[in-house]
Symmetry: C2
Subunit: 210 residues, 2 copies
DNA sequence: GTCTATAGGCGGATAGAC
DNA sequence: GTCTATCCGCCTATAGAC
């Protein structure tokens, strides 16, 4: 076992990061207790400060790693040579899968980004985000000008896809409360959305719709 | 001035509630400082404890009032005698307007609801939520069976409307970062969505779409 | 590297004068 | 009702033994 990329659960450092992901993403930065993270990682509280100088530094590391995963999903939009439709289907499905793993993650990311508006740009300078956006934006424009989809702005299309994919997972407590859903029903509803959302988006882009 | 319903800003109690709304909804329950709320309300910290026994009680009052406003918007869905389409348009527009006033509110509502899963049901028992849902659900079913809209489940329709309306406002920091938007551009984009989202939903319900 | 014990401070809450 | 001063617990962080 010399796989340096694999997450080694026996490694304290990796256990801490996994524990911190869970605790931060459910309780937020302020609500999280170093003791909670230590317990979750089956480690002494003092060891947290041995591996990571302080809470803020631990948080920023987790923050960055979570977002890197999310952003890398964007590459499904430009990476391979699939059709426009298939790219959207892949993106929706990936996005829902990732968010489902840490459903509260967008909550704390957005809360912290609001408290510290520079956080995002501080952590993600020089990442290939602009390029991905540009390429997907161009792709949308090509589809529009060739008449394969109806005229839409890239921005609104992107926001629609993200909203329909991410929000339902994040808003689980509210949705289950308002619609009176059990946990199982909620989960299969989310599962359905991996295709349902893509269907909606594709249908909406059809140039021959009303 | 004997209007007991109007919010009297000279009344300390009302100033505190307004201040607490702002502070809680931007910093969350744990991140909010009683001192911040006191400053924002231009009042002494001790007075907070005079008017509201403790932080938790102040929080629960704000929580309940914010959610009551959101839920009451649901009544746009069933209240008057407008057409199905107009009800959806009214609901989308109202929802975006309310959320825009306290954009971070869903963040802290959802975060707290996750930390304390009983919170929602504890605070909202006996409210006319079930009735509104039932009436709107029936309405959807009638539209479907009469062939005026294509077959959809009420649940997924509701979730789509909510996601498209609420999430973009909530996710402002992320959207502006990824799409490189200035504050002004973002706001007019949101304003556009008041009709754009309704258009999308209505178009999607058309039984003669592809 | 691991752990115990403890420092140190922040922030919620209260006492008590006015 | 309003304010100052202060208490006290909780939680981050570190010192220091092993």
């Amino acid at each position: 076992m010399v796989d340096t990329l694999a997450t080694d659960v026996s490694d304290a450092r990796e256990r801490i990061k996994a524990a911190a992901s869970r605790v931060f993403s459910t309780k937020g930065l302020d609500g999280a207790r170093m003791q909670d993270i230590a317990d979750e990682a089956r480690i002494n509280k003092a060891m947290l400060h041995y591996y990571f100088r302080n809470k803020q530094q631990l948080f920023e590391m987790i923050f960055e790693e979570l977002l890197t995963r999310v952003f890398s999903a964007l590459e499904a939009l430009v990476a391979d040579h699939a059709s426009f439709e298939d790219r959207i289907r892949a993106f929706v499905s990936t996005q829902i899968t990732i968010i489902s793993e840490f459903p509260a993650m967008p909550l704390f990311v957005l809360l912290e980004a609001r408290k510290d508006p520079e956080l995002l740009s501080r952590k993600f300078v020089g990442k290939p985000l602009d390029m991905v956006r540009q390429r997907f934006s161009d792709m949308v424009d090509r589809e529009v000008s060739s008449g394969r989809i109806r005229p839409v702005t890239f921005d609104q299309l992107f926001i629609n896809i993200l909203s329909l994919s991410v929000y339902p997972v994040v808003a689980e407590p509210m949705i289950r409360f308002v619609l009176g859903m059990e946990s199982g029903a909620f989960q299969s509803m989310i599962e359905n959305r991996k295709t349902l959302v893509a269907d909606l988006i594709i249908r909406d882009l059809n140039p021959f719709s009303i």
